[in-house]
């Protein structure tokens, strides 16, 4: 039996060491892996941020939201409009001239990230006031409706968003350090948050709203707060995504974008922070790996042509299989802890479901 104090020291040391190792890894990666792998590693971090923020809304607080793509879109557009240079903007609006007040705004990337988060959060807050009174699936549908409305507005507001032409030539600010830095900050805040009283309150709201209200919790306020915070994450994630891919247009933010985030959250484990990260790693890499099945394969002189569409067929089968055989997701509601990891080494396979 190890005393609690010792366990904590051990855990802190282990955490510190692994963070250090990860930093070494991040430093090593750009010089040793090709840009393709780099992009995937980068995407994992961004998807993890997006997954975590959706998990805060849905997994932790129990608000079924299908609107994340909309908030990502707001974030991506706000950030892109702020980091693009005035010269780029003048060239790009070839259909209608850009709104004059927008043409000369130019900020550093970090400021644009913050603005992306804040503005997405503002819209989230605005929307949440009326619709968080809805519950269950109705909330999901209403948020989905808002996400689509946001997309339609972006498509039609050419002077501000350049319409369906989208924005291109966004400087690729999203380096590994940037995306993992954001992820680290986000993760830290989430862990802190969920361990705090606020986290308990959110879980109470999720598990039994009536009981929570009886305990004197202003459940509506809590839900609005959690929703707004989640939208902040969605905005930042969208901004990072835009700066990674360097071009954005309204079609990127269709409902399928929300589905893939939902997949990450649920496959990882609803309500588990670790789960969202595991889900992001799995879903992102799986989607990339499976590209292999669509390439022509040559064995000796024999060539099997690639089959278009096969990748998603296999991916969807894997997804269904995971859900059927591990219905709570990979992590369930559990979280990662060092004791769990060390324990795993000792009693392999003994863990109960």
């Amino acid at each position: 039996m190890i005393a609690a104090q010792d366990t904590r020291t051990r855990d802190n040391a282990l955490t510190l060491v692994s963070v250090g190792l990860f930093c070494v890894f991040l430093w090593w990666v750009p010089n040793n892996l090709d840009g393709y792998k780099l992009r995937i590693i980068n995407l994992i971090a961004i998807n993890a941020i997006l997954g975590l923020s959706l998990n805060l809304i849905y997994g932790m607080t129990g608000m079924f939201s299908l609107g994340h793509a909309g908030f990502m879109a707001i974030g991506a557009y706000v950030s892109a409009l702020l980091v693009l240079t005035p010269e780029q903007k003048v060239q790009m609006w070839i259909l209608e001239p850009i709104a004059p007040w927008l043409a000369n705004i130019h900020t550093p990337f970090i400021a644009s990230l913050l603005a992306a988060g804040v503005i997405a959060a503002f819209f989230g807050w605005l929307i949440s006031l009326p619709i968080l009174r809805l519950g269950g699936d109705y909330l999901g549908i209403a948020t989905l409706g808002f996400s689509e409305i946001i997309r339609i507005l972006i498509t039609n507001f050419t002077p501000i968003t350049n319409g369906s032409l989208g924005l291109k030539g966004i400087p690729s600010h999203t380096t590994l350090w940037m995306s993992y830095g954001c992820l680290a900050i986000f993760l830290l805040c989430m862990v802190r948050l969920m361990r705090s009283n606020f986290g308990n309150v959110l879980r109470a709201v999720r598990d039994d709203e009536i009981a929570a209200r009886t305990m004197g919790i202003d459940t509506f306020k809590m839900r609005v707060l959690a929703f707004t915070l989640g939208c902040f994450g969605g905005g930042v994630g969208g901004a990072l995504m835009g700066n990674l891919i360097t071009t954005i247009d309204p079609k990127m933010f269709m409902i399928t974008q929300t589905y893939s985030l939902l997949m990450i959250v649920v496959v990882g484990g609803l309500g588990s922070i670790t789960g969202s990260i595991v889900g992001s790693i799995l879903v992102t890499t799986m989607l990339e790996w499976l590209r292999i099945v669509e390439n022509p394969v040559t064995i000796g002189t024999f060539e099997i042509p690639g089959i278009p569409g096969m990748r998603m067929v296999i991916f969807s089968l894997l997804l269904i299989a995971v859900i059927i055989f591990r219905r709570e997701g990979i992590m369930g509601m559990r979280e990662f802890s060092w004791s769990w990891l060390l324990g795993l080494g000792r009693k392999r396979g003994g863990a109960a479901k």
Partner: protein, 374 residues
């Protein structure tokens, strides 16, 4: 699960082994083989493959095509190009149908310094400010101006209307260039209706258009949607004519639209299998295509896929090297290269300067009417 992993590993090794050979020049192709633009991308790929079969070598080295699907999706397009450059180490790239995909891929290629030859991405933004992006096609302002000139001058139509897919960059761009030029010529735009990609019911927009009595409606749609629009217009008894852009140039237009596409006009590149007095390259292309794909008509997408390959090989030949930078420099000097769609010269903005063709559908067949100058 273990079996699956094993299978994946085997696949990985097999693909790895395929690209291990030395002394080959690799040309990457990224195009839409699946997704909503697959109908265009597939034809372009087949055109490129046909060209590769005809010219399998340059500078005494074998040319190998590395094909990647961009799934008509921007994120995938950027990934696909990254993969071609980083993993397959291609010397040059061909692609793609769809301007937004070209833009997403173009950013990656620009940074890596690998030249790309765009097939049918006609939006001016694609090559804007790019050192490494070129294209075998003309651009939408030119096409829109040509369409407007043909409608106003040659057909004598004074009142035009637009039906635009507001979610499609191609449609919005081309429609806008048509509108600008048509009004500049002195014509009047009587109505501008919009729909969203994926819509299949256009009756409301068409009823509104009919009430405005235009002479011609400009419909810069993709062919599958466009054909449905024409069908519904006929059902509703529309009497005006329709005109589209190069994205309507697909043999399927007639099969999809039936007799409703009769009299439909569209601008396109100066190639069509129905064309009288074809240039020698086009003749050869048409013959070989019919041999390779019996029962399937070639179209401009196939021709542009073919032309893109020719332009790159021509540049490699002139550069005397397959170094990406050398190819780029040679591409910039491209002048009067005979291609299927006419003599191709790449101008200062890396766009092909070529003629604009007009096609009309008569008696269920595409008829190449001639070329226009805006």
């Amino acid at each position: 699960m273990r079996k699956l992993v094993l299978a994946l590993v085997v696949c990985l090794m097999a693909t790895g082994a395929a690209f291990a050979a030395d002394d080959v020049i690799k040309i990457g192709v990224f195009n839409c083989l699946t997704g909503q633009n697959a109908f265009g991308g597939q034809l372009e790929l087949e055109g490129t493959q046909l060209a590769q079969k005809e010219i399998p070598e340059v500078l005494g080295k074998k040319i190998e095509l590395v094909i990647v699907d961009n799934k008509s999706d921007k994120v995938e397009a950027a990934n696909a190009v990254t993969r071609l450059i980083e993993r397959d180490k291609v010397n040059a790239i061909i692609g793609t149908y769809g301007s937004s995909l070209a833009m997403a891929g173009g950013e990656v290629a620009e940074k890596a310094g690998v030249p790309v030859m765009g097939t049918s991405c006609t939006n001016p933004l694609v090559t804007q400010g790019k050192q490494y992006y070129f294209r075998a096609c003309f651009i939408d302002p030119f096409q829109g101006a040509g369409a407007a000139a043909y409608a106003y001058r040659d057909l004598g139509f004074k009142k035009a209307a637009l039906l635009i897919d507001v979610a499609n960059d191609y449609s919005v761009g081309l429609g806008n260039f048509f509108k600008q030029n048509f009004t500049k010529l002195g014509g009047e735009i009587v109505s501008e209706m919009k729909y969203q990609s994926g819509d299949q019911d256009f009756t409301a927009q068409l009823t509104e258009l009919i009430s405005k009595k235009p002479d011609i409606v400009f419909l810069p749609a993709y062919f599958a949607e466009g054909a449905i629009v024409l069908k519904q217009a006929k059902e509703l008894g529309a009497e005006f004519r329709f005109m589209g852009g190069d994205a309507m140039d697909n043999p399927e237009v007639v099969t999809l639209g039936g007799d409703a596409v009769e009299g439909f006009l569209h601008t396109t590149f100066a190639y069509d299998p129905s064309m009288p007095n074809m240039n020698p390259v086009a003749q050869k292309f048409t013959e070989n295509w019919k041999k390779a794909f019996p029962g399937k008509e070639p179209n401009v997408n196939a021709a542009l896929g073919y032309d893109s390959y020719i332009l790159i090989v021509d540049a490699i030949k002139r550069a005397g090297s397959a170094d990406p930078k050398a190819i780029r420099d040679a591409l910039e000097q491209t002048k009067d290269v005979p291609t299927v769609t006419g003599m191709t010269t790449l101008n200062a903005t890396h766009d092909a300067e070529k003629e604009l063709g007009i096609v009309e559908i008569r008696d269920g067949k595409k008829q190449f009417i001639g070329t226009v100058t805006p």
